[in-house]
Symmetry: C2
Subunit: 470 residues, 2 copies
């Protein structure tokens, strides 16, 4: 591609992205495609010769965009949000243009130091004390795996890495609530603990871990000669944004010498609001904390903020120093390849820097605060309508609800109606809800957090629900 073609195409793409952000409401949130529809229209063998950029761009618009789910759509209430924002998209453009590998200080000094600075900004913004050091991981899955591995090494006095788990001493166990995210199970498998060593602790009526049940599980294991290696507490569970009681959990972690990892993947962004800080009380006693600025803080995926108190334990778990990576500066700099799983790293601090500066802390607070207020409002509307019931507290911006049982109707029949309600609402193309199961019952999750969502979209979604509920 000639440099001038890049320039011309780049300008066209910027205009397309600007139009897309402006017009995103006109797309159906979820595309009307069946499995195989897109694939069928693509050639099964690669082209031998060069194709012009205009044809690629046309194919993108005609074959790809109509087959995408639009995560930035104002009617996107599914899962948890994965936000973008204009300054974040712009920064990603520069990251792509530089094409730097950020594995060690020497390979990208400014990227490493900008990550140190911006991660410390985030630490201050969510109210963690200065004893925590931050590093960007790609995803919460990876960050939780990093925590479970560091915990494994600390519990075996760094023997598991060397001798292997089969030979490194007593059995280890991990503790979390029944409402934990699936990434905890996955990390328990990957790190070699084994799912049978994952204790799923009961939750209370607000879907929060019960400390008394945790205490019993810990004590039983100690009696059985099993070492409590790690407790994973959640602030903002995926099902219902339940908040585990961190102070009581921290007491138990301290008493048993277990690593305390706090998974605040979604809710952590709300810790920048003073009025939400109470949900995070006790977080400062954790050994590690993660949250995803790419979920709710307007930073493009991927950007998981991982904070750890004992950096030496982290480095001892992950550092490798082959000859071909050694540099003259190793003793005085952060080489982030030693802070996690991957060697190669994108320049992700840039988008974080631009988002925080472009919005300012107050601007970010205003966005997240509004989402929380609309969720509370929407929960009020649902609760006031006799056809619906809100089935979990709404500490942040997720509302969990279902249709009430009618007289003489059993749970299964009511659940079937709730499922139909979700399907009909989604079929309009104006909204996208997903579901979960809470207390054995089918539940719709309405997660408010797309950057384009305004109060009028929440109101329209509510009106749509009322209409479809019949």
């Amino acid at each position: 591609m000639h440099p001038d073609d890049f320039r011309r195409a780049g300008h066209e793409l910027v205009d397309w992205i600007a139009d897309y952000l402006r017009d995103i409401e006109r797309y159906p949130v979820v595309p009307d495609v069946e499995p195989g529809d897109v694939r069928r229209r693509l050639p099964s063998t690669p082209p031998v010769t060069s194709e012009p950029i205009d044809r690629l761009f046309a194919d993108f618009r005609e074959l790809i965009v109509p087959g995408m789910t639009h995560w930035g759509h104002p009617g996107f209430f599914a899962y948890f949000p994965a936000t973008t924002s204009p300054p974040s998209i712009l920064a990603e453009m520069l990251t792509a243009g530089l094409g730097a590998q950020c594995m060690s200080w020497q390979t990208s000094p400014a990227a490493t130091e900008l990550e140190q600075v911006t991660m410390d900004w985030l630490r201050q913004m969510i109210g963690l004390p200065a004893g925590f050091t931050g590093v960007i991981q790609d995803t919460a899955s990876t960050a939780t795996l990093v925590a479970l591995l560091t915990a494994r090494e600390r519990a075996t006095r760094y023997a598991a890495n060397v001798a292997g788990l089969a030979a490194s001493g007593p059995r280890l166990a991990v503790y979390t609530s029944r409402e934990r995210h699936s990434s905890v199970d996955k990390a328990v498998k990957i790190a070699g603990y084994g799912l049978e060593q994952l204790r799923l602790v009961d939750t209370d009526e607000a879907f929060a871990l019960r400390p008394d049940a945790l205490r019993r599980a810990l004590e039983q294991d100690v009696r059985d000669g099993i070492v409590p290696a790690c407790i994973v507490a959640t602030v903002g569970t995926t099902g219902s944004t339940g908040v585990d009681p961190l102070p009581a959990i921290a007491d138990l972690a301290g008493a048993h010498g277990a690593w305390l990892h706090v998974d605040a993947a979604y809710a952590g962004s709300a810790a920048i609001l003073p009025e939400k800080r109470a949900h995070f009380a006790g977080m400062e006693r954790a050994d590690s904390v993660l949250f995803n600025p790419h979920k709710w803080m307007l930073v493009n995926f991927d950007c998981t903020a991982y904070f750890v108190r004992d950096v030496d334990a982290l480095l001892r778990t992950f550092s490798a120093n082959p000859e071909y990576l050694r540099t003259a500066h190793d003793a005085e700099v952060a080489n982030y390849r030693d802070w996690g799983i991957q060697l190669g790293r994108r320049f992700r601090a840039l988008k974080l820097w631009w988002v925080v500066r472009s919005y300012g802390v107050e601007g970010l607070q205003a966005v997240i605060r509004a989402h929380c207020e609309w969720a509370a409002e929407c929960a009020g509307w649902l609760a006031a309508d006799e056809r619906f019931e809100v089935v979990a507290p709404v500490p942040f911006a997720l509302v969990c609800f279902r249709l009430r049982r009618r007289a003489g109707e059993d749970d299964a029949a009511a659940d079937a109606r709730t499922r139909t309600l979700l399907e009909r609402a989604n079929a309009t193309g104006h909204v996208f809800f997903t579901h979960t199961v809470l207390g054995g019952r089918y539940t719709i999750r309405m997660s408010i957090g797309a950057r384009a969502t305004e109060r009028r979209h929440v109101l329209a979604a509510w009106e749509l629900l009322r209409e479809v509920a019949g």
Copy 2:
């Protein structure tokens, strides 16, 4: 940020990127900064209120760019390349604009199906048979970990995930050469095998694994009741691009029932050249193969191609299916969240699609072929100069060399002169070489692979070396 501000800033950034790509030769490859220089110029607390995008862009140009190592510089001969290209950068812009989460089919149908199509293109391009299925992983580190975990599960009949390694049966061992990449060691630690169960097999004079030594290691373990779980063979080692003998290794893997993983992170891109295909003979007998289009095939980091023969083994190792992720289509589609470590995934197939189409297979072949030819040429120049010696074969585009010992000089003194040569060459700002140690001797690695590098840059680098060598 107002939408119009995004549009205006986007156009400015496109022009900056176009200028950067055009003028990259004017920058010093490695910046003249000391640890702390960049950090010192950045505020230690986050801004409370919004800052204009023009200020962010100015700070990027003035504080960040002068502190970056320029991986796209034509004089970048360090490590292995991390390539970008105009179509790849453009595709990354669109990926950022869409902001889609590609964890399952429903969350981005077109992204999933485009990944299926483009990964099958890559499979054909590198000559793997149809029995292999591809998936994009973020990095080779992760892909090797995925292979070692799948091997672990297969060797324990999927018991390790459930019972943990401490209880899942006999000890397992992993085999690789002394020249393997550090990510193998890291994955062995993470997956719980333990470094003591990693057998580092001796290499021959071309830095390739010796099958007789591998056979002895396997047989010794079998005698000791240890199960050979996985062999990691390398095509294109990091130190010197050594090529392990795959056919003999595949025989041994077959005889012992071990998973054979081929790490072709760097060299795999050269498998698209018919004349280089012989180096990959036997790859088709592997259980898994990885290579990095982001290293040498003009695709932006991150994009690791991972091919696996037994998809069921992969899925059985990684799949998780919590209620909140279930969809109506799960039985008939690929949900890539179950194909690796992370749940969240960027839309990475788009850049792969654009690069292959923009260049065409012939265009990509021409780029990689030229790099290999220039490396062979440069090795010839070095070999013909009595001051230098080339210390490893040059099957791809990496030349390993050092200064010859002078009469009466010992190895250490000659190595010190080679180190000084590297430092002086790098200090000019026109080139960036890194080093390794081969056969105990300090060795300069000249890796030709940046997209902007032309023959004249290789020639200039050689002239610089001759001049600095004195």
